[in-house]
């Protein structure tokens, strides 16, 4: 287990503040955030490239805060891969075995050859890095990182330069390798699909602070801060006021939608009537209903008018303005549903903001 405890890093014009994180052994933990949020700085501090001002880094119970990089036992794949151009692919892969303190172990060379075979790069071993394609370079970088047998693999957006097809192929490969060799991954990414495909746990980092850490479902469906929701591109965030509660549900009034909403009691920890909150829902979680059909069976059903329809290839974004509302609700409608419902601009429609799909966000502060 890797524990990052309250570390702070100061660089020119940027600071990482009091950051804590726990990466469970054998898991894939992805730190996701916008460009320049500090995720690479955090990763580099963990590896030892950057000096930390305070805090501790604990690896499997051992304090490694002051250990030099080469004694920490992290394998690292940077964004640009940094394959050594002056030596062959084979020498690249064996570099960590040959030049580390554990050099000369025959079984490690055998294991490295097995890793190379798993990555289907045996035919490249005598070549140099400059002659490889993007996908081949990724595989070699992974093989080089795994060859020394380190149990922690730290990845800094290593797949960002690949095209979509190749990227997906590498995701599957990474999963297979992790399954086979049982290593732990700490990765930084700004790619949502990649994050949710690979991660067991996710941390959202914005402006040098971790806003939320949780499993995929929690992060996807319940971003806890406004900034995190903004990062995910969630537009359906509305100011609301708690009007009442009972053991099962909370009642809210949302002036921006001119609507009363209800949500399960478990969605909000502190419930004080009159408390201003912000409530949100992902566009793909909003249901759009035919007029009169199942309308009364759904909670938080709102009548309104379609103000815009945007075709996006695999789906449509539909904007609906509920009656009396100041703002529109964004809905993601798959193509087949869109065709079936026959939605058009200026048409009357009913949307349901199901209580189970609602989440509450903190406006500015963060949760560590």
């Amino acid at each position: 287990m890797l524990e990052i405890r309250n570390i702070s890093v100061q660089t020119k014009g940027f600071s990482l503040k009091d950051t804590s994180l726990t990466v469970q052994t054998g898991s894939c933990h992805v730190i996701v955030g916008p460009t320049g949020c500090g995720k690479t700085t955090l990763l580099e501090a963990v590896i030892g490239f950057r000096k930390i001002q305070n805090g501790r880094i604990i690896l499997d119970g051992k304090d490694i805060t002051n250990l030099p990089v080469h004694e920490r036992g992290f394998s690292y794949v940077p964004q640009d891969l940094a394959l050594f151009p002056h030596i062959s692919i084979e020498e690249n892969i064996f570099y960590g075995i040959r030049h580390s303190r554990n050099s000369g172990h025959k079984e490690r060379y055998e294991a490295a050859r097995e890793v190379a075979a798993s990555l289907s790069i045996n035919h490249l071993l005598k070549r140099k890095a400059v002659n490889l394609s993007g996908g081949e370079r990724q595989r070699v970088a992974l093989a080089r990182a795994l060859a020394p047998g380190h149990r922690y693999l730290l990845l800094d957006e290593p797949l960002s330069a690949l095209h979509e097809g190749m990227k997906k192929e590498m995701w599957f490969l990474l999963k297979e390798l992790q399954e086979k060799y049982r290593f732990t991954i700490l990765m930084v990414s700004h790619d949502m699909e990649e994050t949710f495909f690979l991660a067991d746990r996710i941390s959202i980092m914005i402006d040098g602070r971790i806003h939320q850490t949780g499993d995929k479902d929690e992060i996807y469906h319940s971003p806890s801060t406004r900034s995190a929701a903004d990062f995910f591109g969630i537009k359906n965030i509305f100011k609301a006021e708690i009007t009442g509660s009972n053991n099962d549900s909370i009642s809210l009034f949302c002036p921006e939608l001119a609507a009363k909403l209800t949500a399960p009691h478990s969605k909000l920890k502190t419930i004080e009537p009159g408390t201003p909150v912000s409530v949100g829902i992902r566009a793909e979680e909003v249901m759009i209903l035919r007029q009169g059909y199942m309308e009364h069976a759904q909670d938080n059903a709102l009548r309104g008018k379609i103000t815009d329809v945007i075709e996006k290839g695999g789906s449509h974004t539909v904007l609906i303005k509920p009656e009396g509302a100041h703002r529109t609700v964004e809905i993601e409608v798959p193509n087949y549903a869109f065709r079936k419902l026959g939605l058009e601009k200026a048409q009357d429609a009913v949307v349901a903001l199901r209580g189970e799909s609602l989440f509450f966000v903190y406006e500015t502060n963060f949760i560590n």
Partner: protein, 259 residues
């Protein structure tokens, strides 16, 4: 005239300037005298001491310049900017002034002690090496630093994450990747040392068969109005210098010296 043609014209004009100067030497060139001067004991000594001193001075410069260049390229430390600036001292101070500074140094108590206890530098062959070393080490460090600046730090980072110590990462990654830059810097350092005159004559003097390098010999012949002999030695110095530079360039082009 296109911009491309104009720029090529400038390149040709630089070549024409130097080629014209070299060609003008042949006005005073005499074949039999060339052979006689070339194979005279005094000239052969000058060639030998020039090549030997330039090679030793270059090696000494590299020993100091490579780690210095690495430190300046990779680390942020107190005084870094001052050190970086002082590397250019040989460029802003004339070689004669550098030689005079060395002469003054060996006349102060520390310099006298060094000369008494270790080696005589003033008016000896050691003085030639020292003069060439002092005038080239800063330039060598600057050239090698530029080569190392071009090598991303990321390579070393990855090497260290794979278990290599900082020193091993330097020897196995940064140094081999800087090879071409170091070779280029070595050749230029050697050429500069070979042609060094001002500092050499100031500290080592101009004693025939003792401290008379090729540039010093050229000056001595010119001072005694021996134009024909001067021309022979200039042609000799140009031939040695250009042949070395061109040879190294050819080897690099053919890949024998590439990384």
């Amino acid at each position: 005239m296109t911009f491309k043609k104009l720029s090529i014209l400038f390149a040709i004009s630089v070549f024409a300037l130097y080629a014209g100067l070299i060609l003008s030497l042949f006005y005073f060139f005499k074949g039999p005298l060339f052979v006689e001067t070339l194979f005279s004991e005094r000239t052969l000594f000058s060639i030998k001491i020039s090549l030997l001193a330039a090679t030793i001075a270059t090696l000494l410069s590299l020993v100091l310049a490579i780690p210095s260049a690495y430190a300046l390229s990779r680390f942020d430390f107190k005084g870094r900017n001052i050190i970086d600036t002082i590397l250019e001292l040989p460029m802003i101070v004339s070689p004669a002034a550098l030689g005079a500074m060395l002469l003054i140094f060996f006349n102060n108590p520390v310099g006298v002690w060094i000369q008494d206890e270790y080696a005589q530098f003033v008016f000896t062959a050691y003085g030639i090496v020292l003069a060439q070393f002092v005038t080239t080490v800063g330039v060598a460090a600057r050239l090698i630093k530029s080569a190392m600046d071009e090598i991303p730090q990321r390579y070393e980072d990855v090497a260290r994450s794979l278990g290599a110590s900082p020193a091993k990462a330097f020897w196995t990654v940064t140094l081999p990747l800087s090879k071409n830059g170091i070779i280029a810097a070595s050749v230029l350092t050697w050429a500069k040392a070979l042609g060094e005159f001002g500092a050499t004559i100031t500290i080592a003097g101009s004693m025939a068969m003792k401290t008379e390098t090729l540039p010093v010999a050229i000056f001595m012949r010119l001072a005694s109005a021996d134009i024909d002999g001067t021309v022979v030695l200039i042609l000799l110095l140009i031939s040695i210098g250009l042949a070395t530079l061109y040879g190294v360039r050819l080897l690099m082009k053919k890949g024998h010296l590439s990384a």
